[in-house]
């Protein structure tokens, strides 16, 4: 079982996008991702692609990185495309065999509805490529701080998110070691009958949970030792500051979304 870690793959570069305030970046990206579902026509699709590709260009992210991130989605896109191809029955018939009926509308739907997802994926990936996990956490913290005002643990949840990102690689190594160890004892994951597969998961989960609890005990000791008090006011080494550019980029994203909806 190959464990490939693509998460948190920060791509270090100096670009306007890298320098953007993480809050502005996250808000804009979310707007772009959600707006994907308003895309129903070819011009909208074209506009969407133009926009994210322009951003990727501005961010100096090499095309190969983007293609890599799209690769795992291709299968989903194909499936989705086929589905639309066969389900849509309106429009002129292009091809028919038995109960299969492919129409022009079907082809169009298959094309638009699968490709539009790529726009969302690129927007999501660009966030990770251009923002360090700790900046991302800062943004998350800022966006959750209203929760703290109404008595919910906003700051704490942001810390949880940040620590989760920090511990994913560590636990990934450990998971691999545990899978190896169980494999060497004859408990192979993802092999054999469905029942066997499910059975093989249980030992790995118990081991992982036990060891993650040990990590958690140590981690809480480390947090205490460094005087972290959940939710308390702390100073920030690099406080977040929204500059004019950041407001401008939010505005730009808003303009893009409006335009996308209007031309539809």
């Amino acid at each position: 079982m190959a464990i490939k870690l693509s998460l948190g793959q920060y791509f270090a570069a100096d670009s306007p996008i890298h320098r953007m305030d993480p809050r502005a970046k996250v808000v804009s990206a979310l707007a772009v991702i959600v707006s994907v579902f308003f895309i129903h026509t070819i011009p909208q699709l074209a506009l969407g692609f133009a926009f994210v590709v322009a951003i990727a260009f501005l961010a100096r992210v090499p095309a190969i990185k983007l293609l890599e991130s799209i690769k795992p989605v291709v299968f989903v896109l194909l499936l989705l495309g086929l589905f639309n191809l066969f389900v849509t029955t309106s429009g002129d018939e292009v091809f028919a065999a038995g109960i299969l009926r492919i129409t022009t509308d079907g082809v169009r739907a298959a094309f638009i509805y699968s490709l539009r997802l790529i726009i969302g994926v690129i927007a999501g990936v660009l966030i990770l490529l251009t923002t360090t996990p700790s900046r991302l956490t800062d943004a998350f913290d800022a966006m959750l701080s209203p929760l703290s005002r109404i008595g919910l643990p906003g700051h704490e949840l942001a810390m949880v998110f940040s620590l989760m990102l920090r511990f994913i690689p560590t636990l990934a190594d450990e998971t691999r070691a545990i899978i190896d160890a169980q494999k060497a004892r004859g408990g192979a994951l993802g092999e054999g009958s469905p029942i066997k597969r499910v059975r093989a998961v249980a030992p790995i989960l118990v081991s992982l949970l036990a060891s993650s609890l040990n990590h958690a005990n140590d981690l809480s000791r480390a947090l205490d030792a460094r005087c972290y008090v959940g939710g308390a006011s702390r100073s920030h080494w690099h406080p977040l500051r929204m500059r004019g550019v950041d407001w401008l980029s939010i505005l730009l994203a808003a303009v893009y979304v409006t335009a996308l909806i209007l031309i539809g």
Partner: protein, 196 residues
């Protein structure tokens, strides 16, 4: 799993040296974070096809982790794990759609189950909780598919009812069943493992 240790200490149960204010303790933060990380690991690396030869119907045990978090540390922790561990998925191939569907599926299983378990912290309570959770989860999955999937796929609700629900329903049932069965299987050793 909620450990009720018979404390032999004389003065105070907790040896904490920080006043318990409004915020979460570092211990709670650390445990939630580690459980989130384990659940995220499950979705990223531990997924495997349930049926040999059907590579795209993949199962991942992340919901089990959320369920155990809910049982052992209360519904709030369960909810936090059910949501936070899927957030990184917005930047992976599952995208926002996969993320939302996963959160709905996990949350609807974990929340009822852990609420029920909270009132009855025994293995039986866990079983009842999981049964109720399974029903709620199935209902939510169907509902979510009816509401969200058409938007995601760009098709009509009818088409989804015709094609997707019949295909995905058995898969969802199987998933929920596995989650509950495995949780029941590992309940005892996990209780021990988390007990100290």
């Amino acid at each position: 799993m909620a450990t009720n240790p018979s404390s032999s200490s004389t003065r105070h149960d907790s040896h904490s040296t920080t006043a318990q204010g409004s915020g979460w303790s570092t211990k709670r933060i650390a445990i939630t974070a580690l459980f989130c990380a384990v659940a995220a690991i499950c979705t990223l690396f531990l997924e495997f096809p349930i049926l040999p030869g059907v590579p795209f119907l993949k199962y991942d045990p992340s919901a089990i982790i959320a369920l155990i978090a809910g049982f052992a540390f209360g519904p709030a922790t369960g909810v936090a794990v059910s949501i936070i561990s899927y957030l990184p998925h917005i930047a992976t191939s599952s995208g926002i759609y996969g993320m939302i569907m996963a959160i709905i599926a996990t949350l609807s299983l974990v929340l009822p189950a852990s609420l029920i378990y909270k009132r009855n912290t025994t293995f039986k309570g866990a079983l009842i909780g999981m049964c109720v959770g399974a029903v709620v989860c199935l209902a939510c999955c169907i509902l979510a598919n009816l509401v969200i999937t058409p938007i995601f796929m760009g098709t009509s609700t009818e088409a989804v009812i015709q094609m997707i629900v019949p295909a995905l329903l058995p898969f969802n049932v199987a998933k929920i069943a596995i989650n509950c069965v495995v949780t029941a299987l590992i309940y005892k050793p996990v209780t021990k493992a988390l007990g100290n």
